[in-house]
């Protein structure tokens, strides 16, 4: 496990428990994003599209969980620098999510350590769950 004093390449940052995805939160985000897609709140729309029987989380919410994980690890929101993701599967209301990741590089940028990490958003247990989003993130480590 990577600690702030020991950010070694190849070590993992602490798993971040997102918790259970809440359908009610999707409604608020639909308004904030001005996202008219009914798959985030209308069960009939989800079923008519053959996408299951639960609301589908907004993709940017899934990105935000990964941001939260990295910010929680470094303890400094201003140190977050970048995230690039590929959406692999839909996240549904009621899913239990965890963010996991591994440090892939530590470079000096502007006199500070910039850590790059491979990140995954997982559904279910981290041991045998499925990856619903993966990508790379970068954060400035505390001075």
């Amino acid at each position: 496990m990577a600690t702030m004093n020991n950010p070694k390449v190849g070590s993992k940052f602490p798993p971040y428990e997102v918790g259970i995805v809440d359908a009610e939160k999707m409604k608020t985000m639909a308004v904030l994003l001005q996202d008219p897609n009914p798959i985030h709140w209308d069960l009939d729309a989800v079923e008519n599209l053959g996408l299951g029987d639960k609301p589908i989380n907004q993709g940017p919410n899934n990105m935000a969980y990964v941001v939260n994980a990295l910010v929680s690890w470094i303890g400094d929101i201003s140190g977050f620098r970048g995230l690039k993701v590929r959406f692999i599967g839909n996240v549904f209301a009621g899913d239990r999510l965890t963010v996991v990741g591994t440090i892939t590089g530590v470079d000096q940028v502007e006199g500070r350590d910039l850590a790059t990490c491979d990140v995954q958003l997982m559904r279910g247990d981290t041991s045998d769950g499925d990856i619903v989003m993966s990508g790379q993130a970068s954060v400035l480590l505390p001075e």
């Binding site: 990105m63 690039k84 993701v85």
Partner: protein, 151 residues
């Protein structure tokens, strides 16, 4: 009729109108509440506002963007990749200028989707003349299902 590759490639460089985005503190609070981030400080906004501000203020709706590629949301357009690249932390109460363009297109073929187009676009956030962040995104435009060919 399928958009020709020539017309598809002609869309590269299309300038998105952009505009001004005020990062209102209440939106930051609500966003933190929705995504489970702590609301324990108000000096910095959630980093995802690099994405929210960009997409909200690109100057055309997603439906209008899809129409540039002869498609609608009913055609099953999907997000491919998304990236935020933050140069300077965003702050609640600040106003950002958004500008951007279509940066790339590719016609591909897969067993799952048949012929599809990948469209990349990039939006920049400036505070005054200072570059604050960049949001890069790609959409997948399915053009034909299950035509049996693969890359």
């Amino acid at each position: 009729m399928l958009l020709s590759e020539e017309k598809l490639k002609s869309r590269v460089g299309y300038q998105l109108p952009g505009g001004e985005y005020l990062l209102e503190p209440y939106k930051n609070w609500l966003t933190n509440d929705v995504v489970g981030a702590p609301n324990d400080q108000d000096a910095f906004a959630h980093p995802m506002f690099c994405y929210y501000a960009a997409l909200n203020t690109m100057g055309i709706s997603l439906e209008e963007l899809f129409a540039l590629f002869d498609a609608t949301s009913a055609d099953g357009v999907m997000f491919g990749e998304a990236e935020i690249d933050i140069k300077k932390p965003l702050t609640p109460g600040s106003t950002y200028s958004i500008s951007g363009q279509v940066t790339g297109v590719q016609r591909k073929n897969s067993k799952k989707l048949g012929i599809f187009d990948l469209v990349d676009f990039e939006l920049s956030l400036h505070e005054g003349k200072e570059l604050v962040g960049v949001s890069r995104n790609s959409f997948v435009f399915p053009r034909e299902l299950n035509n049996g060919n693969d890359e």
